[in-house]
Symmetry: C2
């Protein structure tokens, strides 16, 4: 259990004093940890100890059944990563969604009122920034909710000068993203996941989906949307984690282990490039000397991973290395440069060893 998020020194953000950042973070973390260790100023040392030992980016991963990845991941198999020792379980009698800051007519909603907002649904793939090459900290669900654009229209739209949206969660977690970008990628505030009520560990009663951004910028347990004229910071970005557009990745799910010689072998997996889409996936069975174009399944949305297959007929038995690479919708091919997850998100080709015959 690695405490990735505490590995990095905090970085100051323009316009925000380090002192106020530190205080806010500590208070917000304390309010969560207090659930399990008791509240009060005297316990802060203990709280810090708890967080260092028990919070991490290690998440519950999603493995595909029989090495076939399903276009949609069922809720109980969707990967989970959390910053909390104990996740919040908001009481919907008390919970409110607040829309505030540089918006023309601020307001709040009860959970019942949220259900009456015009909503839409979309398949969106989430990937954790700690998802290593070929790893399984990513999943796809169909999220139903109100788009940020529609919500803001209900409040008379942003005021002149609104440049960022800051999202605040019940557990004190916060994220700040450029408003223009959120509107362009049609960010969603969702209360249903794969046709069911949002599960507690996925952010009940409401969460943010910011397609094209790593999971950490898709906060759960949302309680406040605030339009601001400056970058407010966020738990992970404050610590120096990369928060740009996610990297293009591809993964080989099958074959695994030993495969008989003399029959066509289906090579298959997934590719993902956030909201940029996938244009092409190629597979090499000779360590990158030659590349073969895979067949892509139509994705469920622009923001969803793409499933791919390639029929391989090796000429001889032997030990092989299979490698794949994806090209995103802008025509850019994923980099072969190997880079670990900390602090910028993993890059590099996924390689799988296979014995044929």
């Amino acid at each position: 259990c690695l405490a990735y998020r505490l590995l990095l020194p905090k970085q100051a953000q323009p316009g925000v004093s380090r002192a106020s950042q530190g205080r806010r973070q500590l208070l917000s973390r304390a309010s969560v940890a207090a659930l399990s260790v008791g509240a009060g100023a005297g316990t802060l040392g203990l709280v810090r100890g708890y967080l260092t030992n028990y919070t991490s980016y290690d998440g519950t991963k999603t493995y595909s059944r029989n090495n076939i990845t399903s276009p949609i991941t069922p809720n109980n198999e969707h990967y989970v990563v959390t910053q909390n020792v104990v996740d919040p379980a908001p009481n919907t009698d008390l919970w409110r969604l607040e829309v505030t800051g540089l918006v023309n007519t601020p307001g709040t909603y009860t959970y019942a009122e949220v259900q009456k907002l015009p909503s839409t649904s979309r398949a969106i793939t989430l990937e954790c920034i700690a998802n290593g090459t070929g790893d399984h900290l990513l999943s796809t669900a169909i999220w139903q909710g109100v788009t940020l654009r529609t919500l803001l229209e209900h409040h008379g739209g942003p005021q002149a000068g609104a440049r960022y949206a800051a999202f605040y969660s019940v557990d004190g977690y916060n994220v700040s993203l450029p408003l223009d970008e959120l509107l362009a990628l049609d960010a969603l505030l969702a209360w249903r996941m794969n046709g069911a009520e949002l599960p507690q560990r996925h952010g009940f009663p409401m969460r943010v989906l910011a397609p094209g951004h790593y999971g950490e910028e898709n906060p759960k347990w949302l309680t406040r949307v605030e339009l601001t004229d400056h970058f407010v910071g966020g738990l992970y970005s404050d610590q120096g984690w990369y928060n740009g557009p996610l990297h293009t990745i591809s993964r080989i799910d099958r074959p695994r282990g030993h495969v008989p010689f003399g029959q066509a072998i289906e090579v298959g997996g997934i590719a993902f490039a956030g909201n940029r889409g996938i244009q092409k996936v190629e597979v090499s069975a000779d360590k990158g000397l030659t590349w073969h174009q895979a067949t892509l399944q139509p994705p469920l949305s622009q923001d969803s991973w793409v499933l791919w297959t390639w029929q391989w007929s090796p000429a001889l038995p032997g030990a092989y290395q299979l490698t794949c690479r994806a090209t995103d919708g802008t025509g850019e091919t994923q980099t072969s440069h190997m880079q670990g997850t900390v602090p910028k998100g993993a890059t590099g080709y996924h390689v799988v060893n296979t014995q044929v015959g």
Copy 2:
């Protein structure tokens, strides 16, 4: 290509004259067939010929990849059955949803107005009444739309005396179902399917989901909801097709063919009982002498199929017959009575032959 729907004599419905039924059906069919063969009274004989030869319950089936059925079927793999030679492709500039009849404040909606209705999403499995035992004319999707209950509330609710809801489609198709039952099963009028705009062949711009009823009572291309004090009839029910609650079924998806001896064999498949849910699935490897309880995956909703598995370790190599049976949420086990699809829906156990070793 079998024209099942024309195999049966039409049956008179109480309160509706046979003459008016016949005329309505013929006109509605003609209006569709006219798309491909030209309109006019003189072409009716030709139209009938077309329908007899080219319309049927044969549909596009959904097979599971690698014998693993996915909890959710992607839109392009969802089974399709249609009554039409050419399916309608409504123009949303002209299309309207009309809410009329015994409702307190009738009204209409444009496609843009429909999007603004409060909506919900739910996994619902659809099964064609022509789905044979162990067959693949059933699929599951997440449907987003307004519930009939919420829609009627927007119109001041039903008037005293409203006992049925009749659904009319762009292609002249119609269905009539008891209002109480539709409200109890929380029928949905949907405009999104698995997070995407409803595809044309699945009823764009709007379709009905009546959980627990065979696909034919879940009309596509909806354009009018009318509350009535009597049963209005419907294209298939008028012809004598069964229209009660769908039968409990179960299917074995794997293993297939020859399986090596000496290792545990995963037996798996699906079970479905409409909105009654599945309580138990059992598998027999000795023609029903002994039954073993399968492990059920949690279903995505009460209206969704259930995926099941059973780990089988046969004591000896040899030829086996695997059989499964499901028990629905009310405690009733599916009948072993073999019955074909026409006209009451198939029943009976699914049997699969397997050679071990």
